[in-house]
């Protein structure tokens, strides 16, 4: 099986920023139980590079989420293509370019993923440090199980 035919797993985030390390923690667990199921990439989030990486691929993306309305550790699954939830980006500094902007860019430049499912885990502590909050740590296994379940369900499409 070539890499191109495998679904792509993208971990965003910074393992030295406490709860922002959730993507990398989930990726490590995934690799330990099913390293051949995905092509794994830890990415810095640069949208101009993301669009080349995910173009026409089946993508699973895990990142931390910061939102006051979400309890720490809650996993939110977003399918931006299925929900047609691409919204125009607001003017901002380049430091704040996000997955949303990357998707908008990809759409304009014809570099969209074939499918993309985003697993966003709510965090509460993004201070420097390598320890995730307890609820975020506890979200690693459920997140992996959900990803694998979805992977099995859609496996034939990805083959």
């Amino acid at each position: 099986m070539s890499h191109q035919s495998k679904p792509l797993f993208i971990a965003l985030g910074n393992e030295y920023r406490s709860d922002d390390g959730i993507g990398i923690a989930v990726m490590a667990k995934m690799k330990s139980i099913s390293k051949d199921s995905f092509e794994f990439v830890h990415h810095n989030g640069d949208p101009t590079d993301l669009i080349d990486l995910w173009s026409n691929r089946d993508v699973t993306l895990v990142d931390a989420l910061y939102a006051q309305d979400y309890a720490c550790g809650v996993i939110t699954i977003i399918d931006p293509l299925a929900n047609n939830s691409l919204t125009p980006s607001k003017p901002t500094s380049s430091h704040a370019l996000s997955v949303q902007e990357a998707l908008s860019f990809g759409e304009i430049l014809g570099k969209m993923p074939r499918t993309i499912r985003i697993y966003a885990v709510a965090g509460e502590n993004f201070a420097p440090g390598t320890h995730m909050s307890r609820p975020v740590e506890k979200a690693v296994n459920p997140c992996v199980e959900t990803i694998m379940m979805n992977h099995r369900e859609t496996g034939e499409d990805h083959a």
Binding site: N44, D46, T48, T92, S93, S94, S104, F105, I108, L109
Partner: protein, 429 residues
């Protein structure tokens, strides 16, 4: 008498967060405040006590766009303190790493942050919709810069292969050779982009700047040289603080720099281009001539052309260094820590970046001083704004606000470095 207040609450398309407040009364500009409200980041506070070999990886974290600049100024300052002699092949590789950073940083600004101003478009997405060919080419050029950095630096953002004395390891020749075709493509594509940006409508403005940059007699400045200006300044880097002073202003968490006895000055692409045009590659000089970019350009809106020319130069320089690259040479030289003070300035994409490191005998850091280019340019930006507002006082508020934002973006300010930045308020009375 008409009083006006212009407020931009959050300035878009700059690196970091800040705001702008302008008060006018009649035809007089009473107050211009480029407000930088992000908190100080204390790098100079937490470096003391750390070992010299940790420093380049820590200062790189000051910026995600120009980490190489911080690493380069840091290692050169520490090597100056230790009396380390760096061989020519490592100097060349440091230039190569810097080429990668100039390419990626300049392309990001040209394409996604600055071009929308000239095209009357609100953001990068709109530029991508309306000018897809140019945006695709620009992103591909940017990627070549990223690739240079990751090949030599170990990764694109915050490289991990830079150390005091050189590099931890050197990549195989074949890895650089594999980039040659893409670099050659990028050079042609940059020429086309230069043609595109040269067709923009540039507002009229001519300012009698004091241009400040490094000067090294035989190369366009990156890492080495003394500090010169077009108004008679010629000093060694170690004398920087005798001639330049940082001042605290109430509305900014970034300090303002002035040249003592002279006032504001400009550092960055326009200063380098004006002072060192003859050290650019022949093709870059020819392209400047082809698109009428004046060597003595003092219109800051044309900085977008000069950045594009610097991308072309960085590509030429990268190709030159790759051609002579030899992976059999030592990746670094021994470093012998000793007590002392070291000074360095290098040319970040946005301008001159000054570092001073005072070191203890055991190789730990005693004190650090860092003066980023945006803090050096910040007073100059406010002075430009005063002039632009005075010249355009009768413009409708939305047009004047846009012109002010565009004026700030001429500088590609990195507020995250300076410490971060924009919101604009105009009070007309």
């Amino acid at each position: 008498m008409t009083r006006k207040i212009i407020k931009v609450g959050y300035l878009a398309r700059v690196e970091g967060e800040g705001s702008l407040l302008i008060r006018t009364e009649g035809n007089k500009v009473e107050e211009v405040q480029l407000k930088i409200f992000e908190p100080p980041r204390f790098f100079e506070g937490f470096l003391p006590g750390r070992s010299y070999d940790e420093a380049p990886d820590i200062t790189a974290r000051i910026c995600g766009i120009c980490p190489v600049a911080y690493q380069m100024s840091t290692v050169h300052a520490i090597e100056d303190a230790f009396g380390t002699i760096i061989p020519e092949h490592i100097k060349q590789l440091r230039r190569l790493l810097y080429c990668g950073e100039w390419i990626e940083s300049h392309m990001l600004h040209i394409l996604l942050l600055h071009a929308p101003d000239f095209l009357g478009l609100p953001d990068a997405m709109s530029v991508a919709k309306a000018h897809r060919t140019q945006v695709e080419a620009g992103l591909r050029i940017k990627k070549v810069g990223n690739k240079l950095i990751s090949t030599l630096g170990g990764r694109e953002v915050h490289p991990i292969n830079v150390k005091t004395g050189g590099f931890y390891s050197l990549p195989a020749v074949a890895r650089f050779k594999a980039l040659e075709d893409e670099l050659k493509w990028a050079k042609d594509a940059t020429h086309k982009l230069l043609e595109w940006v040269s067709g923009f409508d540039f507002p009229d403005l001519a300012i009698d700047y004091e241009f400040v940059s490094l000067k090294n007699s035989n190369e366009y400045p990156f890492n080495e040289g003394s500090i010169h200006s077009n108004k008679g300044l010629s000093i060694e880097v170690r004398d920087y603080e005798k001639h330049f002073q940082e001042q605290h202003v109430e509305h900014s968490t970034a300090l303002h720099s002035i040249r003592v006895g002279h006032g504001s000055y400009l550092t960055g692409p326009m200063a380098r281009f004006s002072k060192h045009f003859d050290l650019l590659s022949n093709d870059t000089q020819q392209a400047a001539s082809e698109f009428n970019v004046d060597v003595a350009c003092v219109n800051p809106y044309r900085s977008i052309q000069i950045r594009t020319l610097e991308v072309m130069y960085a590509i030429d320089e990268a190709l030159r260094i790759i051609k002579i690259y030899d992976d059999r040479l030592a990746p670094s030289v021994e470093v012998a820590p000793r007590a002392g003070t070291g000074y360095a300035a290098t040319e970040a994409p946005r301008g001159t970046l000054y570092h001073k490191f005072e070191m203890n005998n055991d190789g730990t850091i005693k004190t650090v001083k860092i003066v980023p280019p945006t803090s050096q340019n910040q007073k100059r930006i406010e002075d430009d704004l005063r002039r632009v507002i005075t010249d355009n006082i009768d413009l409708a508020e939305d047009k004047l606000t846009h012109l002010c934002e565009q004026t700030i973006r001429n500088y590609d300010p990195c507020i995250s470095c300076a410490t971060h930045f924009l919101k604009m308020t105009l009070h007309r009375r």
